[in-house]
């Protein structure tokens, strides 16, 4: 019989906090983490971004790490260690790490390229961990979780896909303990990339608002510790929630744009519901992908409306707090989803003022707790039409 997949540990670092507790406090106080760019120099420094307010040096010191690592690795180790350290494991289980990332070590690689293009004597050590897979290996080695190492890169749905794959490995008996989630750091590459697509908001983003103008980029890491029934039992762990359903589909519409009817998003959410055997009416909260772009929010909104009909659950985009953390967004928002279940709360969608014309629902504007939250759905949709949705249940 297939094992259930239990979430027993969480770790998150983003623009709104470096721990789960700090993050919750930020949500309670409606305190977002968006502001001016300070991590590196750029002509686009006026664009609001969601930086983790810690330098690489501070991260390395806090982690007592020897050796020189790129920012993505440092953020990843930070959140993954927090997650794993919150769980007491004494037996020799098969442990693996599944991480989603889009930039890998680009924060250092772009420095290398500046030197390389200028014809200067470029420092090749900067590209030592450029590959997405290298970042995950550094995290795996730090945690001692090398029985299985996978890195998924499906753009903005990367870390949800990591969590889904980890769940499947546990269910099929290939792994006992999985640290699953993702990480991405802010880079000049992605800032300029999204700027060239003209989808960055010059002001603070307004997801799901009729007058929204684009997204703000963010960075961070979010990891869950997932275990099988057997590990839960033998280690007498507390199950925070289970992963009850998921869906991974492709919109197959365009390289960057989502279809107007949100068919990929719809199929992903529907697939998640089907695999969880839940009815739409049982979902208590949706953590929307909600980037703040005209295209995503419209497409996702239409899909949500179609799936949930007249009774759309409480929904919000936490990217209004953290910015769009790209490959890390699924992992970070998975942590938020579990927090919602554990604390019986839902998070506000900041700066929302007017409903989009395409839909009949509005996201929630206030932090609310003392709710009976039993099932949370989290959406992540990326470039290349990669659409994923996951449901956590308590």
């Amino acid at each position: 019989m297939e094992s259930r997949v239990h979430v027993v540990g969480l770790g998150v670092i983003s623009a709104i906090g470096k721990t789960v507790d700090e993050t919750l406090t930020s949500f309670e106080n409606h305190r977002h983490g968006l502001g001016p760019l300070s991590l590196f120099d750029s002509v686009h420094r006026q664009l609001p971004v969601g930086e983790v307010k810690i330098s690489n040096t501070q991260l390395a010191n806090e982690l007592a790490i020897k050796g020189s690592f790129n920012r993505t690795t440092l953020l990843g180790i930070y959140a993954a260690r927090h997650a794993l350290n919150s769980v007491k494991l004494s037996l020799p289980w098969r442990r693996g790490i599944l991480s989603g990332t889009t930039v890998g070590g680009m924060d250092r690689s772009e420095k290398f390229f500046s030197q390389y293009v200028a014809g200067a004597d470029a420092d090749f050590s900067l590209v030592k961990d450029h590959e997405c897979g290298s970042v995950t290996e550094r995290i795996a080695e730090d945690l001692g979780a090398t029985d299985h190492i996978s890195t998924i890169n499906t753009a903005c749905s990367s870390s949800v896909n990591s969590i889904i794959y980890a769940s499947r490995l546990i269910k099929q008996g290939y792994l006992d303990v999985a640290i699953a989630g993702g990480v991405d750091s802010l880079t000049k590459f992605t800032l300029n990339g999204f700027n060239s697509l003209m989808i960055l908001d010059k002001e603070l983003c307004k997801p799901f608002d009729a007058d929204r103008n684009g997204l703000n980029l963010g960075e961070g890491a979010g990891f869950l510790v997932l275990v099988s029934d057997q590990v839960l039992r033998d280690e007498a762990l507390n199950s925070l929630c289970t992963i009850s359903g998921y869906g991974n589909t492709n919109d197959a519409f365009h390289q960057t744009a989502s279809s107007e009817d949100g068919r990929g998003s719809f199929l992903a959410m529907e697939s998640a519901l089907r695999s969880s055997r839940l009815k739409p009416s049982q979902i208590d909260y949706i953590n929307l992908h909600g980037t703040g772009t005209k295209n995503n929010d419209s497409s996702e909104g239409v899909a949500v409306q179609r799936l949930f009909g007249d009774i759309v659950p409480l929904a919000s985009s936490t990217k209004s707090f953290t910015g769009h953390t790209l490959g890390a967004s699924g992992g970070i928002e998975a942590v938020f989803s579990v927090m919602s279940l554990v604390h019986g709360c839902v998070f506000p969608n900041l700066r929302f003022q007017s409903k989009m014309a395409e839909v009949n629902f509005s996201p929630i504007r206030e932090f609310k707790n003392a709710l009976n939250v039993r099932h949370v759905m989290s959406n992540s949709f990326g470039f290349g039409g990669n659409c994923s949705s996951i449901i956590f249940s308590r």
């Binding site: 060239s196 697509l197 003209m198 365009h254 390289q255 960057t256 744009a257």
Partner: protein, 81 residues
């Protein structure tokens, strides 16, 4: 306009086309040449790189890039002195 067509073909990598294959009034998007939203962004970059014209609102794109003729007119009226 012929020069503009050469630039368009180059910017959008339309290797299978020659300037004379693109009509002055031919719709560039949806029908006609069948270009898409990425091409629209590339044309915005073309205007900036070649004519020093900066478009900050991508929503203006459909009007400006309707055809080679509308593009040429826009360039004529907006090119900095």
């Amino acid at each position: 306009m012929s020069e503009l067509k050469v630039k368009i073909i180059d910017a959008l990598n339309l290797k299978h086309l020659k300037p004379e294959d693109i009509g002055d009034d031919q719709p560039l998007f949806v029908h006609g040449l069948g270009l898409d939203s990425i091409d629209a962004l590339e044309l915005i970059v073309l205007l900036q790189q070649n004519y020093n014209i900066k478009i900050t609102d991508p929503q203006e794109g459909p009007k400006i890039f309707k055809s080679v003729k509308t593009m040429a007119e826009y360039i004529r009226s907006h090119q900095p002195a």
